[in-house]
């Protein structure tokens, strides 16, 4: 993806020199033209300033992040009390070749062999994929030291170890063991987590209370190199390293080998397909907050759902349009395609009305009616005769024509 972006950028830049020296001048002209034409130059300027400031701030921040001292806790470049710059400097002074590997690429680039200690101080930026990668890359290392790992780190790094979070902040812990790293009677000032091997096999462990140890040495497995877990993050910070025997413990633990690769993991290395940390990216108050919102919605339902008195029934009357029976009669005619019947009915009605208009009795004989209608409308008698008493229409079209003609005839006889 990076390559692709690079290509695009290059092609853009490639095109610019083709325009030659005229480009800046032309651009200036265009800007001047636009300024002259547009009344909203002030706004443009304002926006330009804002964009410039934003870009500037972004640049400053990246530049600062790349080189300057960090303020991330336990960072080898952080000189503040929470940082660990002191530890790195002292180790370097004692002849240990300290390499800071920021990110996975730097770690894979670092030289790791039997005389190398890989040190991970800040595990919160790790995920399953980067942990697996770390185990792979440090397979050949003399030892891997991890300080106060988060529980899921051990789940992927060395599942044989269980971890317990503790808060023994108050009192210094005295060692009752004697290992290569820790002498009998040495004191460590704080601890945040304690470890225990699942199968309880004998190994180097210190500061042990009820089976859990602040210092635990895990032998190498097929998965990882020898592992040293230190449950106190404050022991290696600038602020605390000088108190108790923190410095001695840290220096011995990390100065075991000639080289120290200080791995500072980065969240940028976590592939997007890795979902193991997805839950940790969410704020801790999300789930309880959602529960509260859900309960509030339930409350809302209780509020809105409680009716103020029951529903009232309405005894509805029967709604029948009076014309409905006639409409269904029409549908019956249509379905039966009874054009003959329609012709009879329409002629009958027209004859009845015409007789009424012309003052004839309803039962007047047909010839008399035809003559009268013919006189009144001016149409020839045979035509009127056909209209009023012709053969029944055979098709829909004939019927439609007859219906229209009858209506026209009625209008002619009685134009009102």
């Amino acid at each position: 993806m990076d390559d692709g972006r690079g290509l695009v950028t290059t092609s853009l830049w490639d095109r610019a020199p083709e325009a030659g020296d005229a480009v800046p001048g032309a651009a200036g002209d265009v800007a001047a033209d636009a300024a002259r034409r547009r009344p909203s130059r002030r706004r443009l300027v304002r926006w330009a300033v804002i964009v410039a400031v934003v870009i500037g701030v972004a640049l400053v921040m990246t530049w600062r992040g790349a080189d300057a001292a960090s303020d991330v806790p336990l960072d080898p470049r952080n000189p503040q009390p929470t940082g660990s710059q002191a530890l790195g400097r002292v180790l370097a002074d004692h002849g240990v070749e300290v390499t800071v590997a920021r990110g996975q690429a730097a770690l894979s680039g670092a030289q790791i062999d039997g005389d190398t200690t890989v040190f991970v101080a800040r595990t919160s930026a790790l995920a399953q994929a980067t942990i697996d990668e770390l185990a792979d890359l440090s397979r050949q290392a003399g030892r891997v030291v991890v300080v106060d790992p988060d529980p899921w780190v051990l789940r992927y790094l060395s599942p044989e170890v269980t971890i317990a979070q503790t808060r023994r902040d108050g009192a210094d812990l005295a060692a009752s063991c004697d290992t290569a790293d820790i002498r009998q009677g040495e004191r460590i000032s704080h601890s945040q987590s304690e470890f225990q091997l699942r199968d309880g096999s004998p190994t180097d462990a210190c500061f042990t209370t009820t089976g859990h140890s602040v210092y635990l040495s895990v032998p190498a497995t097929a998965h990882h190199a020898p592992l040293v877990l230190l449950g106190s993050r404050s022991a290696i910070t600038n602020g605390e390293i000088a108190s108790a025997d923190n410095a001695a413990i840290a220096l011995r633990t990390l100065g075991h080998s000639a080289r120290l690769v200080w791995y500072v993991p980065s969240t940028d290395d976590i592939p997007t397909t890795d979902q193991s940390r997805a839950a940790d990216l969410l704020p801790p108050s999300l789930v309880p907050g959602l529960v509260v919102v859900l309960m509030a919605v339930l409350g809302l339902m209780l509020w809105r759902g409680r009716r103020l008195g029951r529903l009232v029934r309405e005894p509805l009357p029967v709604v029948i349009r009076a014309v409905e029976t006639t409409e269904s009669r029409g549908r019956i005619y249509r379905r039966a395609k009874d054009t003959g019947r329609v012709g009879v009915v329409l002629r009958d009605a027209t004859r009845r009305r015409l007789a009424g208009y012309l003052g004839l009795p309803t039962a007047a004989p047909l010839p008399q009616l035809i003559t009268a209608v013919s006189d009144a409308s001016g149409r020839p008698a045979p035509e009127v005769g056909w209209l009023l008493a012709g053969p029944p229409p055979q098709t829909d079209d004939e019927m439609l024509g007859l219906a229209g003609s009858l209506a026209a005839l009625e209008k002619e006889v009685r134009p009102s």
Partner: protein, 463 residues
């Protein structure tokens, strides 16, 4: 659980038309007597702040528990709705289309102040759109809650329960209970045709003060003598009186008074059909009211019989002033019944009402089947004793349908409409041959046509 309301009959044939199946649960199913207000979800939502500060499960549970406990405590402190004395003030009646009011008198008989919401629920057709009343009632205080009703249908519109929701001091929870208080709003027929009344009354006065009626039939009564005025009928000059005085004197006549007009309102199935979105029955009532108003002014006695298989309403021998009020009262609760009219029953009721000759106006529909089956056999005896007029509401949609002949489908419909019109005409002709006058007009024109026919009969002394 379902049972029939109204009188239950053993055989299905005689199930009364207004017997509608009613589902009424026998148990005391009143619902939960509590409610929460909008403050409750807001209170729960405020818990978000606590959760952001301390995002643990315990916080959530604690907050929920707090909210619920607060609400329950609030609820317990709410005044019981039973402490409220509720009465409805008076009954009221409203002419359909007008707005009326109904009032509840609520009294706080408890010792604490009641804050709450009262809903005076009515049937939707009562048109009580704003039936909720906010209420703050101190101990011993009494207030009148007025609900405006605009009924949308004629008849008795019933009140449903009155529901009281009493909030606690925090306004979180509330106690709620419904009470049967009862209440009826009677929506009277609108009597739209009363706009025709002044002109018809003027015509009646003309008739009254006329020197003489053109036809000196048996129905005209001698009133008094007065001076001859140019234009008077010379035949009405009273020669004997003229001989006594210096100038010509004519006899004046007044139209007969104290005749009987019997309005028969058919509430059978044909009256349920809607013409211009109004049941035929309502249009017929309109016509009946106009005629009754006119006839009572003319000094005639008006009776009303309404029924289908049974006589459903009867008004008779009412005084002139009370007549209209009594008529609308009797008409209001009438509904079309899906039954065939039993004309012999109605004819018996007519015979019961008056032995004297009367003008009998049958307000029914010219439905060939209905008329031929039941009315025609009865009509023969009826016409021998009374002058019978059949007033029927015709449907303008029919004539419009008959005139539309643009497409094939319309032509078929036109034929159907023509067929219906022909059948109606044929029925009218049959009735005419029996000596019955048929007035068939659309809802708008039926009342004035009927009134005019009455005036015509009156002026000719044919009553």
């Amino acid at each position: 659980m379902c049972r029939w309301r109204g009188r239950q009959r053993t055989t299905l044939r005689y199930v009364r038309a207004n017997a509608t199946p009613v589902c009424r649960s026998r148990g005391r199913k009143r619902g939960v007597p509590v409610a929460v207000s909008w403050r409750f979800p807001i209170l729960v939502l405020v818990g978000l702040v606590a959760v952001v500060i301390q995002p643990t499960r315990e916080t959530v549970l604690l907050w929920l528990a707090l909210s619920i406990v607060l609400t329950v405590v609030d609820l317990l402190f709410a005044v019981s709705p039973r402490r409220l004395g509720i009465q409805r003030e008076g009954g009221s009646q409203v002419r359909l289309g007008d707005s009326g009011t109904t009032a509840l008198l609520v009294t706080n008989t408890g010792r604490r102040t009641l804050r709450g919401l009262v809903r005076d629920a009515w049937q939707p057709s009562a048109g009580a759109t704003v039936d909720r009343h906010r209420l703050t009632l101190k101990s011993g205080e009494r207030r009148r809650l007025t609900t405006i009703v605009v009924p949308t249908r004629r008849g008795d519109r019933l009140a449903d329960r009155v529901t009281v929701r009493s909030f606690g001091p925090l306004g979180l929870g509330a106690r709620q209970r419904s009470f049967d208080v009862g209440g009826v709003i009677r929506a009277l027929p609108p009597f739209h045709s009363r706009k025709h009344l002044p002109s018809r009354l003027a015509a009646l006065r003309q008739l009254d003060g006329r020197s003489a009626v053109r036809i000196r039939g048996q129905g005209t009564e001698f009133d008094s003598l007065r001076d001859y005025v140019e234009g008077d009928d010379v035949r009405s000059i009273d020669w004997r009186a003229t001989a006594r005085r210096q100038h010509a004197v004519v006899r004046t006549w007044q139209p007969e008074r104290d005749r009987r007009v019997i309005l028969v309102l058919d509430t059978s199935r044909t009256s349920a059909g809607r013409v211009e979105d109004m049941p035929r029955l309502d249009s017929e009532m309109d016509a009946a009211l106009l005629l009754a108003a006119l006839a009572s002014r003319a000094g005639d006695r008006v009776d009303l019989i309404a029924g289908d298989r049974w006589v459903r309403a009867r008004v008779g021998s009412a005084s002139r002033t009370a007549l209209l009020a009594e008529l609308v009262q009797a008409m209001s609760p009438l509904e079309p019944a899906l039954l065939e009219a039993s004309w012999p029953t109605l004819a018996a009721a007519i015979a019961d009402t008056s032995r004297r000759r009367a003008l009998v106006v049958l307000l029914t529909s010219l439905e060939p089947a209905a008329i031929e089956e039941s009315l025609l056999p009865t009509l023969a005896t009826l016409t021998t004793h009374h002058r019978v007029v059949v007033a029927s509401v015709s449907d303008p949609a029919l004539t419009a349908m008959a005139a539309r002949r643009g497409t094939t489908a319309e032509a078929y419909d036109a034929a159907a409409a023509e067929r219906t019109l022909t059948l109606r005409q044929r029925t009218a002709d049959v009735l005419g041959r029996l000596g019955v006058t048929v007035i068939d007009a659309d809802p708008e024109h039926l009342p004035p046509r009927l009134a005019d026919h009455y005036l015509l009969l009156k002026s000719q002394g044919l009553l």
